[in-house]
Amino acid sequence: MTIASIVVGLGAVLLAIASEPPAIQMRDVTAASGIDFTTTSGATPSSQILEVKGGGIAIIDMDRDGDFDLFFPNGSTLAAPTRGPGGRLYENIGGMKFRDVTAASGIDHHAWSFGCAVGDYDADGRDDMYIACAGADRLFRNLGGGRFVDVTATAGLGNETMWGTSAAFADLDGDHDLDLYVANYVECDPAKPIPPAHFRGFEVINGPRGLPAQPDLLYENLGNGTFVDRSESSGIRAPAASFGLNVVILDLTGDGRPDIYVGNDSRCNFLFENLGGMRFRDIAAKTGSATNLDGAEQATMGIAVGDVNGDGRPDLFTTNFSDDTNTLFVATPNGFFDDRTAQYGIGVPSRSLCGWATALIDLDHDADEDLFVVNGHVYPQATLATMNSQYMQPLLVMSRQGDRFVPVKDDSQPWLKSVQRDRSAVFADLDGDGDQDAVVSGLNQPVRVLENTHPPSNDWIVIELDDRDHAANRYGVGARITLKSGGITQTRWIVGGGPFQSNQPAQVHFGLGARPIAPHEVTVRWPDGVETTSAVTPGTKQVIGRGATAAAK
């Protein structure tokens, strides 16, 4: 064997290693997690539309101990819609273990609940929770120590009795406190069952088409612990009421003000451009974000925000009904959102699935965002033979490989193949090892905890914000965070709203690739437009304060 042949052989091995994409590896650790909770969402099989959306998940660091706790609002039954089993609060006690602290929390809420928004509405440094319900929504103020109190009435909320699905906090009027948007769905009285509809020869659950849509709500935070309803004056009700299912809030127009993107079921989505002064106008159609490439109104459930082409502009990914595809809207320099679903390989793998919660996250730390979608059909009658789609469906996890997203297929990972009636999910580093874990919930089924088992390394950075100058939005909802590392620029946003009836935590995660190259520099565009730049260290979670003081935590 010559030296040359050894070099060539070694080169081939190195090339093979370099060209093999890092695998996404997760595992179901529910049994050991301490979360032994089965959700309630009417009966199985479902017969009414109220039963098929499921409950969301709030991811919240309720005790500011640096890890994320979980709240499941939970649903109820048609027979007793306001007397369900109630929500469940789990405290993260480290090591991917949780304990049920509902009883001591003060949360005694049994109405049929759906979405959650998390934010510190009263500027006391503790994140609070807003729960969207069928009926009056609730606001729970965080008292600290894992205790909450229902402040709905004193905050001026809960006067509407619509079907709230998703909600989001963000500073919409630039006064540094967190306002609130609530997406509402359809008129639905559990006491008056809706007759079934017909779909492909089957009697199926009726709606939302043919049912009266309910208008969304926008509340301005007055900064004194109360809110005032600005739904009419703000312009968000200029378009006809629709079937709202999800909302995310961030600056989508590039003017520095947070805009509101609303996913509507079977209708055009809304993109409310923030005009300033708590005034909005719907520009979804003229920006291409109302419909897909064909101009088709889709049934948008999940919404993810990412930057798939690395241009620093936020792209939108939506999940939709079966026999349709999920849709990727890529932002263009002129403010348009091009439907690039096919280009990125996202359409075909989603055609047989009915998608719900979703996220663009770097699961394998290769410095690009992967795609995670939870699925499950709404019609119990759905089979491949009858509707090209199964009632129980697996997750769709797609790894970013080059210019395409590729479904992860790995028989050695049972969590990928498990079929469920999934609806909601949250994503964050739950065990403090630097990678992104997931918690998934569905209809009348046990909540699942999925641990990311990416090998321990320093190929990640997590960033949190702490703006002491603006305590009412201290954790930077609306901020844009750009990481420059080894010639790669990645951008993330701290958004209001999230995957589906759930929230995205107020932190961002970056994978750095196998061999992170210094320097690593983070630029934060704070919600008020001020930009700061800080050096950061791989393999750490860092809190960036105003004034560019980055301190490893």
Partner: protein, 282 residues
């Protein structure tokens, strides 16, 4: 809105009413000059020599009834007739073919696929035998099995080089796989084969619209606009092309034109699709 409504296979016009041969050589479209090389993915791999087809079993008298029902869009009725035929003659490949089409036209692709595969596997000779691959191609496409869909479309164009709709299918698959050049070639070939006869305006418009999608992919909005406008002019009932047009107008800053196109899309949709009711869910 179901994606499956995006691409309606034109089997009635292509296979039963007009016949592709009627329109050969009428095309006015030429593939862009820069797209010269035909990808291997658009041509069928060298097929093994097929065994000679077996003679068709005695033709059941009701097969023509079923075919007539299919032609008139009565797919469920056709399915019922075909069920009784296949109960009597379970090895009738033509019966299976028609059954597969009846099921497929009800958008039950997973159910249609094995029926069509069985029809093909019987290797019997019947009038529409060459079309089986075409319908199998679409069934596989809607089931997300692009490789199988590609194989069947390739087989169809291999056996029937004027099969414009299978070229169209190959073009749609190439879009999904982001093979832009191949998509242009396949759709261009489909447009060429469809020709300019007014009776094929619908199919030509759909292929032009898909070619417009390819132009969007290439960031060539002006090109897309021209293709979409031509498609809308050819077949104004194609509501999706109005939606596509609206998007391009909006992206080009022509908001008023965008509004007009969107209004047209809504008007056509309301006129040509079922009225909104609980029965039209989801």
């Amino acid at each position: 809105m179901h994606l499956s409504m995006r691409i309606q296979t034109s089997w009635l016009t292509a296979s039963f009413v007009c016949g592709n041969s009627l329109l050969q050589g009428c095309g006015g479209y030429s593939a862009p000059a820069e797209v010269e090389a035909v990808s291997e993915q658009l041509t069928a791999p060298p097929p093994p020599p097929p065994p000679p087809p077996l003679a068709e079993p005695a033709n059941h008298q009701n097969l023509s009834v079923a075919a007539k029902l299919l032609r008139s869009g009565q797919f469920i009725d056709a399915q019922i007739v075909l069920q009784s035929i296949l109960a009597e003659q379970p090895d009738c490949a033509r019966g299976e073919f028609l059954m597969g089409v009846a099921v497929m036209k009800q958008k039950r692709y997973a159910q249609a696929r094995p029926i069509l595969e069985s029809s093909l596997a019987r290797n019997q000779d019947f009038a529409e035998r060459k079309q089986v691959d075409h319908f199998l191609g679409w069934s596989c496409y809607y089931l997300g099995d692009l490789e199988a869909a590609k194989r069947h479309f390739q087989s169809h164009v291999g056996a029937n080089p004027t099969a414009d709709d299978s070229y169209f299918g190959l073009g749609v698959i190439a879009i999904d796989e982001d093979r832009v050049g191949d998509a242009e070639i396949a759709l261009g070939r489909a447009i060429e084969l469809i020709g300019e006869h007014p009776v094929r305006s619908r199919d030509r418009a759909k292929a032009l619209a898909r070619l417009g999608d390819v132009a969007i992919r290439k960031d060539k909005r002006e090109e897309a606009l021209a293709l979409y406008e031509e498609a809308a002019q050819l077949w104004p009932e194609h509501y999706e092309v109005w939606g596509k047009l609206a998007r391009v107008y909006d992206a080009s800053g022509r908001s008023a034109d965008g509004e007009t196109a969107r209004a047209k899309q809504q008007e056509v949709m309301q006129r040509t699709t079922r009225p909104e009711s609980p029965e039209s869910v989801p």
